[in-house]
Symmetry: C2
Subunit: 150 residues, 2 copies
């Protein structure tokens, strides 16, 4: 089955809805994402697109992936901020991760703790821990974005 046409209409709708141009580069990055398996990295997407669009720049791929993330077409895996951060708190807790500023807020929840490991997860290997990861936009970023819109 060829779903490339119908998939592209998703891109088209998302871009049009936000009043954003439909460019070659965005189409190619989008197709590359659709064709990818697992959790592609920026470099993987860049190398893939380069086969068809040899002159595309890394910068464009970065910008495009950020745009797609904002449009909800893809989900950046955890901190997009390229710096590794550490949890000094090794006790059970969960994370609220801001998708704008990538800050992480810890919380515990009496309603869900202790969290059990689903059986499906155990097949992948030896489990060390589980936590909930809630993605969202933090209060500070919400306030900042509201202010800028005025």
């Amino acid at each position: 089955m060829d779903t490339s046409g119908s998939e592209l209409s998703v891109l088209s709708a998302a871009l049009k809805g936000a009043g954003i141009r439909m460019t070659h580069q965005r189409i190619e990055v989008f197709s590359e994402l659709q064709a990818s398996h697992g959790h592609p990295s920026v470099t993987e997407i860049y190398e893939g697109v380069r086969k068809r669009l040899p002159s595309i720049s890394p910068d464009t791929v970065y910008r495009t992936l950020r745009l797609f993330s904002e449009l909800g077409l893809i989900i950046p895996h955890s901190s997009t901020s390229s710096v590794t951060r550490f949890d000094v708190n090794v006790h059970e807790h969960h994370h609220f991760v801001c998708t704008r500023c990538s800050r992480i807020f810890d919380f515990t929840s009496s309603s869900i703790d202790p969290l059990e490991v689903p059986r499906e997860a155990e097949s992948f290997g030896e489990v060390q821990g589980v936590q909930l990861e809630v993605r969202g936009i933090c209060r500070d970023c919400l306030r900042r974005e509201r202010t800028q819109e005025e």
Copy 2:
């Protein structure tokens, strides 16, 4: 209250248990972690320690934090691999993240889906999504480590 002494005994026990030396650098990095709030980055720890140990190198901080992660003293937040990866699958699913090779495996779970957002998380901002993050060592890494031990 001064808990630095008792905290240090945690480090001492962990290192001794693994037959690893207790060095100035490791002690200072450990103290810096204890004194830190939130989710410190490598650079933040490095800058902090440098005030007391001006000659420490970034390399040592990286190595030490990796060591502490392996000992379970801290938990690296998601992929330590410095590359941003993307989820092309925007439907609800969960992650098994390998703490060795940082590969991510997707899964869904009939027993827990749909996952609800705990009320505690909503106070941080506007929620976009939730997923479980299971940390562990994947089958491939387990096999490789077993082989190396022989």
